[in-house]
Symmetry: C2
Subunit: 385 residues, 2 copies
């Protein structure tokens, strides 16, 4: 192991981001060493990963499976449940924690890690959406770096390498437009779960795939960009680009635009978040624009995709609004996935939650956790009523 080896904690190691991260580690064993892994419920895959990478500790979210994990991994410390995850996230024995957790459950581990002084490679966008203000304060107090993993934010970050933020005019977050870009608004009420789960370009988890279908994902990304790059909301635009080749752009004050491009695959941004400031050689499929032939661009339809406008509204109003937006969306998406509500009910439920909650200007961590619980209960209640 060279002196340059980075010790890594991969939270959510059995998810799509985690699995990709372990592929990177596998191809550069001298550069990366896995010290801890966590999974929510996929115990078998977690065990397999731990046997290969030999971490010091693993956490299994589903406590009922901890005995099985313990039996399979002698000599490895096993933590369990939510408290086990938070304990693992609070340790300072790693250089970088990759947060590949899904949804609002990923926020608190980010905060634990920052407080421990550990740099974060952040895929969990909910961390910044819900606690952007708090996280920014903690990052500066603890001198911790946050490296974006989302392809859009990685693109912006890569375009900004070597540039001065004072010279930036605006950020352009691109989005494919999802599976319903050309579907007429009138047909939205009949969208099925199977249809919504068919993303044209990206292979991702179920929750984020639905967020792409409603385009809430793009809205959450605008909020994330706001907290990552510290530009006012008026300077963050969305452009629809169905081929997902240009992953996002930065426009400078002289009109020069820089873009990052690539095949639509999370491998590149995941690796870059771990290898920054280096680019590590990989023989992945190469982008060939002459084969792709055509890239197209259009403005987003905020009337059809109401979730985008809700996200802009939440960011403008600030405070507790993005917390409620995010949690309400999450609950509504799971209800949609469970067949309990129609596709068009997602923005309706979010709007109700945003309007009904007791607004807080500067929520602290306890406020955010309480708001999370309130919003979950509210959406469940609204559904039942």
């Amino acid at each position: 192991m060279s002196s340059k080896t980075k010790n890594l904690s991969v939270l959510g190691s059995t998810g799509s981001i985690g699995v990709n991260a372990l592929n990177v580690v596998r191809s550069y064993p001298d550069l990366f060493k896995i010290r801890s892994l966590s999974a929510h419920s996929q115990a078998d895959l977690l065990i397999e990963q731990a046997l290969e990478f030999q971490p010091a500790a693993v956490a299994i979210g589903d406590a009922t499976q901890s005995a099985k994990v313990k039996a399979a991994l002698p000599g490895i410390e096993i933590l369990k449940g939510r408290s086990g995850l938070l304990e693992l996230a609070s340790r300072d024995d790693v250089d970088v924690m990759l947060n590949g957790l899904v949804g609002s459950a990923g926020m608190e581990p980010s905060i634990c890690s920052i407080k421990a002084g550990v740099d974060i490679a952040l895929s969990n966008k909910e961390s910044l959406v819900m606690a952007g203000d708090l996280i920014n304060r903690l990052l500066s107090e603890n001198k911790v770096n946050l490296y974006p993993v989302d392809s859009e934010h990685s693109a912006i970050w890569q375009c900004l390498v070597g540039e001065d933020m004072a010279h930036v005019k605006r950020l352009v977050v691109t989005g494919s437009g999802g599976p319903f870009r050309t579907t007429p608004k009138e047909a939205f009420k009949d969208i099925t779960v199977a249809q919504a789960l068919k993303h044209p370009n990206w292979a991702m988890g179920r929750k984020i795939t639905i967020d792409s279908a409603t385009m809430m994902n793009k809205g959450l990304e605008v909020i994330e960009a706001f907290w990552l790059f510290h530009l006012p909301v008026e300077k963050i635009d969305i452009v629809i680009h169905p081929q997902s080749i240009i992953h996002s752009m930065v426009e400078m004050v002289d009109g020069s635009v820089k873009a990052q491009l690539g095949i639509p695959d999370m491998k590149i941004p995941i690796q870059y978040a771990l290898s920054y400031p280096r680019h590590l050689k990989q023989d992945w499929e190469q982008l060939d624009l002459t084969k792709i032939g055509t890239l197209t661009f259009e403005a987003p339809d905020l009337d059809k995709f109401k979730c985008i406008q809700l996200a802009f509204d939440a960011l403008q109003e600030g405070g507790s609004m993005p917390v409620v937006l995010n949690v309400a969306n999450e609950e509504a998406v799971y209800q949609f996935l469970d067949g309990e509500i129609p596709f068009t009910a997602i923005p309706e439920l979010i709007t109700k939650a945003m309007e009904s909650h007791e607004f807080l200007e500067h929520p602290d961590l306890d406020d955010i956790l309480a708001l999370e619980k309130w919003t979950q209960a509210f959406i469940k209640g609204v559904k039942r009523s």
Copy 2:
């Protein structure tokens, strides 16, 4: 004048690059001060520019007009003819020399300026095409910086800001394909001067517009990129992109691609070469991809555009080949513009000159100047014969 003011010499100030550079200086009078200007024959415009910017000295290439210039500019030193231009280019009283000269005549002034220890903003691509090896040696000996002005090289340079050249996999130079991209090969022999002068995207001088029509321009840019960025020729590709919005790209070893985009206008790269590492605010037309809608890409047709292959061949063979390529092209283009030869004779004449000249492995400045004369005479002789 602030302590940060850059003193500039603008050679070729009445050409399209020079006029754009003076627009930049006009909008940032605290950042830039014109100390010298040169023009070949447009004495009236030179006088007008000198009256506005009050340089210490101007050079007029056409010596017959020097009396007129002198009379119009009392208190300003007037140099004349080729020797006057070279004298001006050799002075060390400026921070940056913008070389906006056209053709091979621009090479020697670049060398004079580097020897004087003056940084160069280089629009004259012939400097590097003809004397890339020599110029690179002189740059390092004299600790002089070379800032590219060509939109393609500016794009690559901007994409490389903050990046390590060791992480670069390849450069992709984009080109519009010129006015004859879709013209069948059989029709090339009938192409008229008027047709060749109609570039679809860029407003440029006559010589470079014909180079775009033959696509020799792209070949010269590959050679220029080779000397600017020090990558082997196999790592420099050309991609045809008719809309000229992506000005060029860099692919990193991890497959991440960075591109610089903008409206097709030389204003941005000219200003950036002068303002680097800053981007200076300008309210120029903004790039709006949703209005442009579609960007397309295709492979270059080396069979139809023989000049591209000639340039790759010249770069591969090295030594004196690119000198002869460039000068033969220049002479042939002027003959085409004068109606003396058909469009298809341009690559034929270049091929003959490359094959007929006495090859030199490491031409020095005297060799290059002698080769220039030989090639000019050869092309004139071939035409007459």
